[in-house]
Symmetry: C2
Subunit: 305 residues, 2 copies
C-alpha cells in the first residue's frame, strides 16, 4: 500500500456520539462520506476536532475499520495516532498502517513537561522503529495550546534527516503565522499544513501542502474551491469570503460549534453532542452562529446525507 503525499484540504471529521455518549459509528461513516462529497481531499480523522482524545483506543480502531469497510479509500485517511504512552502510539499506528491508511498524524506525548528535544526524538523514533513498516507515512502534529509540548524546528530537522521516507509533513495548529512561515522557508518539500484556511493562499504561495482545519467540517466546499484556484489571478479575492467564514466561526468554541452547525444543517440533532470535558453549544449560541454564517453567504454543496 503506497503512502499518500497529502495535498489540499483535509478535514478533522467530528465524531458523533449517541444518547449514552457512545460513538455512533454509522453516523460517523455517513458524516465522513458527506465531507468527502463536500470536496475534502482527505480526512484527518481522530484529530483534536474529532474529540479523539476523549475516545479509547478500541473505539478509535473500531470507527476507523468501519470507514474502510464502508468503502472509503484508506489512502485519503490520515488518522491521529499520537498518545502519551509509547505502546499506545505504536498500537494505533500499526493498526492504521495495517488498514492501508495514507498516513498518520502524530501528536507528541503530551503529559510530561518540560521534555527535551532528545526525549521527543527518542519517542518518535521508537514509534517508527517499532512499527517498522515502509508503508508508514508520518505527519507531526504541532498544537502547543493543547499539548503544552511544542514541535520545534530542531526536532523536525532531526526526524527528516533520520527518516526522510517516513516523516513527510506537519500540521501546524499553533495559529502562529511566523512559525508556519519559518517552517515553509526552512523545510521546502515537507508537507506543511497550517490549521486555518484564513492563511491558505499565502501559505500555498510559500509551498504549503494545503490546510487541515476544524472549519473544514462546515466549509469543505468553499475551502476546496480556494485550494483549486490558489494560482488563479483572483485568488486574493477568493481568499476573502473563505477567511470571513473562518473568522466568524472561530469566535465560537470550534468543536461544539462544528457539531452544532452540522446537527442543524443535516437534521441530525444528535450530532451536536460532545463528550465531557467539553460542553455543547447552547441554543442561543447555535442560533447566533447560524445567523452569522448565513449573513456571510455560507452554503453547503448540495449532497445527500
Amino acid at each position: 500500500m503506497a503512502k499518500t503525499r497529502f495535498k489540499g484540504v483535509l478535514v478533522p471529521a467530528i465524531t458523533p456520539f449517541d444518547d449514552r455518549l457512545e460513538v455512533d459509528v454509522p453516523l460517523f461513516v455517513k458524516t465522513c462520506k458527506w465531507l468527502l462529497a463536500q470536496g475534502a481531499n482527505g480526512l484527518a480523522v481522530f484529530g483534536t476536532t474529532s474529540e479523539a482524545n476523549s475516545m479509547s483506543i478500541p473505539e478509535r480502531k473500531r470507527a476507523l475499520e468501519a470507514l474502510v469497510a464502508a468503502g472509503i479509500d484508506p489512502a485519503v485517511l490520515l488518522p491521529g495516532t499520537g498518545q502519551c504512552s509509547l505502546p499506545d502510539a505504536v498500537d494505533l499506528t500499526k493498526h492504521a498502517v495495517s488498514l492501508g491508511c495514507g498516513g498518520v498524524l502524530m501528536l507528541p506525548p503530551f503529559y510530561y513537561k518540560p521534555v527535551s528535544v532528545d526525549g521527543l526524538e527518542a519517542f518518535y523514533s521508537e514509534v517508527i522503529e517499532r512499527v517498522g513498516s515502509a508503508d508508514l507515512g508520518l505527519w507531526l502534529y504541532h498544537i502547543p495550546q493543547m499539548t503544552g509540548v511544542a514541535i520545534p524546528y530542531d526536532l523536525i530537522e532531526r526526524l527528516i534527516r533520520r527518516y526522510p521516507d517516513t516523516v513527510l509533513g506537519i500540521k501546524d495548529s499553533s495559529g502562529d503565522w511566523p512559525n508556519t512561515e519559518g517552517m515553509l522557508t526552512r523545510f521546502p518539500g515537507f508537507g506543511i499544513f497550517p490549521s486555518s484556511e484564513g492563511v491558505l493562499v499565502k501559505a500555498m504561495r510559500l509551498g504549503a501542502a494545503g490546510c487541515i482545519t476544524a472549519s473544514g467540517n462546515i466549509n469543505a466546499a468553499g475551502i476546496r474551491s480556494l485550494v483549486d484556484h490558489w494560482q488563479a489571478p483572483d485568488a486574493d479575492e477568493r481568499q476573502k469570503p473563505v477567511a470571513a467564514v473562518r473568522d466568524l466561526f472561530s469566535k465560537f468554541p470550534l468543536i461544539p460549534a462544528a457539531k452544532a452547525v452540522l446537527a442543524t444543517k443535516l437534521g441530525q440533532p444528535g450530532l451536536a453532542k460532545v463528550r465531557p470535558p467539553l460542553s455543547q453549544l447552547t441554543a442561543e449560541q447555535t442560533a447566533d452562529l447560524l445567523a452569522k454564517l448565513e449573513g456571510a453567504g455560507h452554503a453547503f454543496k448540495p449532497a445527500a446525507f
Copy 2:
C-alpha cells in the same frame, strides 16, 4: 471492601522498565514492598512520578494485579486512574475498585483546554455514576503544570456536595502554598495531601492528611518519622533535615532522579531506565545527586530488597 481514609506519607512508586522498555513487573512488586518497609503509609502507584502516563491501560492493570497477588493489602493502594477519555477513566477506576483498592487518585481529563468547571464536573460525575460503587473512594489530582487543567475550589465544592461519601480528598501538586492553605481552610475534614514534605508540619497543623510526594521514593523513612512526630515539641526542628533533602532533590528532574538514586542504592541498574519522552539522569548528575544526599545525612532504613 471498605475504602481507606488515607493518612500519612503516600509514595507515588516509580515503575521499573526492562531493557526493551517493558514494565518489569517483578521488580515493581519488589520496589513497592520495599517502599512499604521503608515506612510508606500507602502507595499512590501510577501517579506522575510512576510514569503512569507513559503506560498503556493493560500495562497498568497487570502491574496493579501483581501487587495484590503478591500480598500487598489493596487498602493501602491509591492508584492513579485519571485519563483524557471517559471510557478509559471508567475502565481503570472499575478495575481498581474490583481489586479492593483503598481509593483512586484521578487526574482531570488533560488534553482539551480551556474547559469549564461544568465540563470537569460532568466528567468526574460521569465516572462516578458509571463506576457506580459504594466502595469507590476518589481523590482529585491537581497538577496544573502537567495537565494545563486546574482543579479550582469551585469544582471541589460541587463534587463534595454531590458525592460526599465518594470524593474524599485531593493531592495538591501545584507547589503553590497559598492554594494548599486555601483548600485546608475551606474544606476541613477533606483529605488534603500537599505534594512536598517540605511543608508537611505546617500543612498538618492546618489539618492536612499527610503528603504524597515524589521524593517519598528515596526518603520514605525520613518523611514517615516526621509524619509520626508532627505534634512533637521539636516538630519544627525535625522538619528541617527532611525539607533539606527535598530541596536538594528537587533541583534535579524528579522522576529520573528518583530512579537513579534507587538504581544505585539498591544495586539494580535497570531501575534507572525511563520511557521517552523522559531522559535518564547522566552519570555525572547521578554522582552529583548522590554526593549531595550523603552530605545532607540522607539514609535508607535497613530493609532487604
